[in-house]
């Protein structure tokens, strides 16, 4: 789990630490340069001083020049005085006996007996001497190291304290977030009220707004689900109630017409229940089946004729197919297209109890190409407010038919989606009736 607090803590601590290290590096580099400068000056000064003490190549009266210093940095400087003929005239007590200097005048780095020296040499031909003063580079390094250690020591002490401060500070800073999280975690599953955004920090507010958006979407979906459940319960239980009531009437009736009427109603009810079961199965099959391949084409006219032949049609309803061109090809598979067309056709037939004409026609685009199929009925049509609802599961509008299940258009729409097509519904402009159009874009 990534913790925001841990993340911020590590980031802040890392940044602070890095900054500190940079500062140390900078200081150590800077002080090394400064130190070199100061120590080099000291070397030159010492060399000049020793040179001024030497007279005419002899230093007999000063055989052991002692330039000792005290403390941790003892014997920093070593001095050698050579005569021009290569004789070591004199040297300080800590100085090596071998030649520290090159013949050149000025500063040089030399390695003698495995130690690196920084030396300054003055060559004086008139006095006949060569004066060399040097110090060990190792000593200089130690000086810088001690300086840096002096800087780092408090840092090591302060860093844990700083870490603690950052940890507590970040925790306090994140408290509004924790409060919001606690508020949401403490809700029960039914509570979909929006989280109040005023008073929340600016950084948390977009999160809360998004969360509230999600809440309202979930709530809407749940309301729809509840509606579907309610509709389903109503649509499934009402026929059962009808069946039971009619059966009880048939049992209790003592006259033949009443009994016969009840038995007939039972048949009607069983037919409707059968249809409902068929539609429910079609729907669940459609939901469970994998998406079909969309590269095949089917002869729409042939499928439509099959649909019309196989479905029940009262004699007062006519079907008009004369607008349909021969060999109209539509994308998709035969089974799914059959399902769409059957449900559209049955829907049209169901709402034409008074009789009339069902017209099937191609939908054409601007270029005159057929892009789909549409069907127009002469039923009562659908109230404009109900149009967006008619493909909802179990939704049966005001003009519901006796045998409708409220699932036909749901199935048609879902199957149309499987075909890569869109199903649109509109009331006819020329007369009462519904137009359903199945269009491939």
């Amino acid at each position: 789990m990534t913790s925001l607090r841990r993340r911020l803590f590590l980031l802040l601590l890392g940044a602070t630490g890095a900054l500190w290290l940079c500062a140390v590096a900078w200081i150590s580099l800077g002080s090394r340069a400064e130190l070199e400068h100061v120590l080099d000056n000291r070397l030159r000064e010492a060399a000049t001083m020793v040179h001024s003490l030497v007279s005419n190549g002899n230093l007999a009266d000063a055989p052991s020049l002692n330039l000792e210093a005290s403390g941790g940095y003892a014997r920093q400087l070593s001095c050698q005085i050579w005569s021009m003929d290569g004789r070591l005239v004199g040297r300080s007590s800590g100085a090596p006996s071998s030649d520290l200097a090159a013949d050149t005048e000025g500063f040089a780095d030399r390695t003698v007996n495995g130690e690196t020296w920084r030396v300054y040499t003055i060559v004086d031909a008139t006095k006949g001497v060569r004066v060399t003063v040097g110090d060990r580079i190792g000593l200089r390094d130690r000086l810088v190291r001690d300086l840096v250690a002096g800087l780092l020591a408090p840092a090591v002490l302060i860093l844990p304290l700083l870490g603690l401060l950052i940890w507590v500070g970040v925790g306090r800073g994140l408290r509004p977030l924790a409060a919001v999280a606690g508020d949401i975690a403490g809700r029960d599953a039914e509570d979909m009220r929006p989280v109040p955004t005023d008073g929340a920090p600016a950084e948390v507010r977009p999160l809360l707004t998004a969360l509230n958006g999600l809440f309202s979407k979930v709530e809407a979906a749940r309301t729809r689900e509840r509606e579907v459940t309610a509709f389903a319960a109503h649509e499934l239980r009402t026929p059962l109630a009808g069946l039971k009531t009619q059966a009880q009437v048939a049992l209790a009736a003592d006259d033949a017409p009443t009994r016969e009427g009840a038995l007939r109603q039972i048949l009607v009810s069983v037919d409707r229940a059968t249809r409902l079961v068929r539609q429910l199965l079609a729907l669940s099959r459609l939901e469970a089946s994998p998406a079909p391949r969309l590269d095949s084409e089917v002869d729409a006219g042939r499928v439509l004729r099959e649909v019309i032949e196989s479905s029940h049609r009262p004699p007062q309803v006519n079907v008009d197919l004369h607008l349909l061109p021969d060999g109209l090809k539509l994308k998709g598979d035969q089974e799914t297209l059959h399902l769409v067309l059957r449900n559209l056709h049955e829907n049209a037939v169901e709402h034409m109890a008074a009789g009339g004409r069902i017209t099937w026609a191609p939908v054409t685009n601007a270029q005159g190409m057929a892009t789909g199929l549409m069907v127009e009925d002469e039923g009562p049509g659908v109230a404009e407010a109900e149009l967006p609802l008619i493909t909802r599961r179990f939704y049966r509008g005001r003009h519901k038919s006796a045998s409708g299940t409220g699932l036909g258009l749901t199935i048609a729409e879902m199957a149309a989606g499987r075909l890569g097509a869109r199903l649109t519904f509109a009331n006819r402009a020329d007369r009462p009736g519904l137009r359903a159009a199945l269009v491939w874009s």
């Binding site: 309610a230 009402t238 109630a241 009808g242 009443t258 005001r398």
Partner: protein
């Protein structure tokens, strides 16, 4: 007993009509909220059987409208949901009882009798006037201990009179109890039923108030 059934499923509505008629009620059916409101405004019903989910709205709206008009007609809700919140909402909106679909026809009839009885302010299930006892549940009438055979319509006329002994019931009122909307009312039917009833339960039991109607004679 005159009952309004508000149910949009034609099979169930037909079953309720036949079934409740078998238990001695006169039934009218409507299939949407609008018609239900019109029917309730126009006629007097002893009870209403109300489906919750109707094509043009919820039965609860009809119920709320009815109660807002100050109409206390007993209402029994038919609900397809097991959800208790739905039932609670129904009862809180002023329903007197509810039944979940599918239901038992006899239970529905019994509950309707119960809510109409409560609606009329009676505690007893049987109607009594003098020596005459009427049991709407078993559909029987007795004078003393002797059972009296009655036709469905005769029973309905007698029940209408015995529900409120001593109160005058007009001929139109009795006709309304006897016939649904689609039924042809025979002009002298009520007189014929009263005549037959007097022969069966005793001539003095039913009093004719000239020009106004009929009433059960109250024992002195």
């Amino acid at each position: 007993m005159r009952i309004l059934v508000v149910e949009d499923d034609p099979v169930l509505a037909d079953g309720l009509k036949s079934g409740l008629r078998l238990s001695g009620a006169t039934v009218d059916c409507v299939d949407c909220c609008t018609d239900a409101r019109t029917a309730l405004k126009a006629g007097r019903f002893d009870a209403v059987v109300l489906d919750l989910m109707l094509p043009d709205g919820s039965g609860l709206d009809v119920l709320a409208h009815l109660r807002s008009q100050g109409d206390a007609t007993p209402v029994l809700l038919l609900t397809a949901l097991d959800d208790t919140t739905d039932r609670v909402r129904g009862l809180d909106s002023g329903a007197d009882d509810y039944l979940g679909k599918p239901f038992d026809l006899d239970e529905l009839a019994a509950r309707l009798r119960a809510i109409t009885r409560r609606g009329a302010g009676r505690a007893e299930a049987v109607l009594k006037a003098g020596a005459l006892t009427l049991d709407p549940a078993s559909f029987t009438a007795t004078v003393g201990d002797a059972p009296v055979p009655l036709s469905r319509r005769e029973f309905a006329v007698l029940a209408a009179l015995m529900e409120r002994p001593g109160v005058i019931r007009s001929k139109a009122e009795i006709e309304e109890r006897l016939y649904g909307w689609q039924e042809e009312v025979e002009s002298n039917a009520v007189e014929v039923h009263i005549h037959n009833l007097r022969n069966k339960v005793g001539r003095e039991a039913i009093e004719t108030v000239r020009g106004l109607g009929y009433r059960m004679r109250v024992a002195e």
